[in-house]
Symmetry: C2
Subunit: 106 residues, 2 copies
């Protein structure tokens, strides 16, 4: 494997976290597996769009899908996804706090 190839694959997986709707879905699925229409009900928006985003996340390996009867159930492929997401949320919070502190000094 070319030395840079791993960075491409890694970035590709990370990219799957880089959309508000996808973050919201990961947040939802932290608690438990849900089917497509359950997710749609919470997130709102178009079915086709949600479907596309779920497909992206599944292809990149951060979600798993299982078909049962007429419903498609989605879940996180690993707890590590939720952990990584939580860590990045903390990075965000710290960054917002820092910005705020700077603003208050002005």
């Amino acid at each position: 494997m070319n030395g840079k190839k791993i960075f491409e694959l890694h970035a590709d997986v990370c990219k799957a976290l880089g959309h508000p709707l996808r973050i919201e879905v990961i947040d939802l699925l932290q608690k438990k597996e849900l089917c497509f229409s359950d997710i749609l009900e919470v997130t709102g928006g178009l079915k086709s769009n949600l479907s596309q985003h779920l497909t992206v996340m599944t292809k990149k390996g951060i979600l798993k899908m299982r078909r049962e009867g007429q419903c498609n159930y989605y879940s996180l492929s690993s707890k590590k996804v939720a952990q990584a997401c939580r860590l990045m949320r903390e990075v965000l919070i710290e960054s917002l706090k820092k910005q705020n502190a700077i603003l208050e000094k002005m």
Copy 2:
């Protein structure tokens, strides 16, 4: 704050991980702070390009920058960035293994 606003900000921070060069930089900075030209030497490519990627990461709060003498030193804003990145790398590895297992069955 609008309920969805946090997802946007969160996705924005995650998006900063979604590029091969930026993953490579995070990998490098895990060990220690480095100055621009050190990073450039390892990653290769154009300096203007690297500069832009570093600026993005700094603005999104995942890197810090410090000027010393004629050099700009970059470092991770928090160990959490490295941790999150490592977790996502593990998610990738697991996903690659799974794909491989599927291929071998064929």
